[in-house]
Amino acid sequence: MRVVLAEDHFLLRDGVTRLLEAFGHEVLAAVDTGPLLLEALLSLRPDVAVVDVRLPPTFSDEGLRAAVFARTRVPGLPVLLLSQYVEPLYAHELLATGSEGIGYVLKERVSDGAEFIATIERVAAGGTAMDPEVVSKLVTGKSRDEPLASLTPREREVLECLAQGLSNAGTAESLFITEKAVAKHVGNIFMKLGLPPSESANRRVLAVLAYLDR
């Protein structure tokens, strides 16, 4: 995988670069400001961009804005946003650029190296990765939604895993249940929420995210 990395803290930039290289990925550029990031994204066309939301020069949402702009110029450009905190509004804006190949996770997820690399790979392959915190905030924001309220606690757990971008296998693993059980829950969830059933795992994730972000 060819990766562009944008992160203004030297230690973290260095650490993630090494991590990526250790897993056999190529870091095309590791930049530390918004304008440099945009330039790198548009000229190098990486397989995936790993971007810190808060970057110089404004130290506000420079990274997000660069990523959103780049995705309008290069549709489907996979972007994984990293942030010290998660903000549902930012997730919403990122989702508005198309929901394939995006990710938004807390910076501290870097500490689990293998998991973090798996997340990047998922996004690069056109999948989705939402931090559990983003998902739980989206779900809280919909807690008065009737179809959502009709889910059983287990179904809700499965829904949250789906929204994070996990496959059936990933969901089964993280909830300690069988894949068959997951498939059954997924069927029920889609029926209760009135979503069109789909065989493709990715399509299902998108449907759930679109529902939560509505």
Binding site: Y85, L106, S111, T140, G141, R144
Partner: protein
């Protein structure tokens, strides 16, 4: 102290003559009411020294104040004349309130004294001003009447006079008629607007406190809100200190100990070391989460990044209520104002979600005439009260807004809906930076 700031309100929209005429009638009607209130006040004043006076004072004062408030409101709305009022704090109920009112009533520099003086004056002074157009109109009617029947009146009436015209023959009758029509026209199209302005100016002359009283009240208000602001800030700092001490700091200490243990076990028991390392990582995750929550409570990142509009949108997104947000902000307010309004809206939303039983909520955020105004409406069961026991959150919002001279108005009749409006004067400075 409750103060209404003296501000030259914007000129009200122009109105037609007949509308203004109706308004003078309303003012005249209020003057009639003032007459009865004035009579009652005289009676209460006569027993002021005794216990009966103390008992009657609160209710009477409430009536006087309601009448004065109505007049002040009309002056501001109809003529754009702000009539400030400075009421001193009073004990809530009972004898203490009556006694405090009595001493205020006897104090010439007090608003209660001024209100009562006004009520005694208004029924004739205010009434006389407000009656102007009506009297002019009646004069016009009298002119027309004399013009139509003046010439046919029996001789023994000698002659009928209209103003300076002795009506006796067709020429004088025509003159009287013409003057009558002129009076009517003046009464409807010329006089009412001037009367309204004059009445508002008279009201300010009689009811408004002097400049020095206003300043004194302002100083008192600033003194209270400043000490309040310092207290709030101090308790916030203590809370942050406590949160850091009990939260992130404790986690880091635990992490250090876990790592230390891992170091000692490294040679002898690598399996145990693995568990300890996992534990240390979990501690670091927990510490980070606590720090994140703490930062969010001090200064939410979205507010710093995007400003008030998007920060409020973000609040709406995570609120369990179905919330619609409408924003009309040409630029960003100062950061302290943004922060105060953000936390106020956050509290109002939480309140609505927790207590109102509402399904939907509407937030409207706009900047008008030098003030930032936010209204939060929900379709719940109402009954919210700043002063009620459950309303400590609202009370806190009110106090924190007061640091910026802001106010919170709660309109929440039993059965709903609830409308809460907060308004605070501010300037917009930083250029707009929101994405859309």
């Amino acid at each position: 102290m409750n103060t209404t700031r003296q501000a030259e309100g914007a000129a009200p929209p122009p109105v037609s003559g007949p509308t203004a005429f109706r308004r003078t009638l309303t003012l005249w009607g209020l003057a009639h009411r003032a007459f009865f209130v004035s009579l009652w006040c005289v009676m209460v004043s006569s027993v002021l020294r005794g216990p009966l006076g103390v008992k009657l004072l609160p209710g009477t004062e409430r009536r006087v104040r309601a009448l004065a408030d109505r007049q002040r409101e009309l002056a501001a709305r109809w003529s754009g004349v702000e009539v400030p009022a400075v009421y001193a704090e009073l004990p809530a109920t009972g004898r203490a309130r009556g006694k405090a009112l009595r001493s205020q009533l006897l104090d010439k520099g007090n608003q209660v004294h001024r209100d009562w003086r006004w009520v005694h004056i208004d029924w004739f002074a205010g009434g006389a001003i407000a009656a102007g157009p009506v009297l002019l109109g009646l004069t016009g009617v009298w002119g027309l009447w004399t013009a139509s029947i003046g010439t046919e009146l029996p001789r023994e009436w000698d002659s009928v006079w209209f103003l300076f015209v002795p009506v006796g023959d067709p020429d004088t009758a025509f003159l009287a008629g013409a003057l009558g029509v002129l009076c009517l026209l003046l009464a409807v199209f010329w006089a009412p607007r001037r009367t309204l302005r004059l009445h508002a100016r008279y009201l300010r002359l009689v009811l408004a406190p002097s400049e020095s009283e206003l300043l004194a009240a302002r100083v008192e208000h600033l003194r209270t809100t400043r000490s309040d602001a310092v207290d709030t800030q101090m308790s916030e700092i203590r809370r942050i200190e406590r949160d850091l001490h009990d939260g992130a700091q404790a986690r880091l200490v635990a992490m250090g100990m876990t790592l230390n243990a891992a170091e000692h076990l490294l040679a002898t028991d690598p399996e145990a070391v693995r568990d300890l390392l996992v534990e240390a990582r979990q501690s670091s995750t927990a510490a980070l989460k606590e720090l994140r929550d703490l930062v969010k409570g001090i200064h939410p990142p979205i507010l710093a990044d995007r400003g008030l509009a998007d920060a409020v949108r973000s609040l709406a997104m995570i609120s369990p209520l179905r919330t619609e947000v409408v924003v009309d902000l040409p630029a960003r307010p100062e950061p302290p104002v943004e922060s105060a309004v953000y936390f106020a809206v956050s509290e109002l939303l939480t309140n609505a979600a927790k207590h109102s039983g509402a399904e939907r909520c509407w937030i409207d955020l706009r900047y008008e005439r030098g003030s930032l105004r936010v209204s939060v409406t929900d379709d719940g069961q109402g009954g919210a009260d700043v002063r009620a026991g459950t309303g400590t959150g609202l009370r806190g919002v009110e106090r924190r807004l007061a640091h910026f001279d802001g106010v919170l108005a709660v309109n929440s009749p039993p059965g709903g809906p609830t409308l809460m409006t907060l308004e605070l004067p501010c300037v917009l400075s930083s250029p707009k930076t929101t994405s859309s």
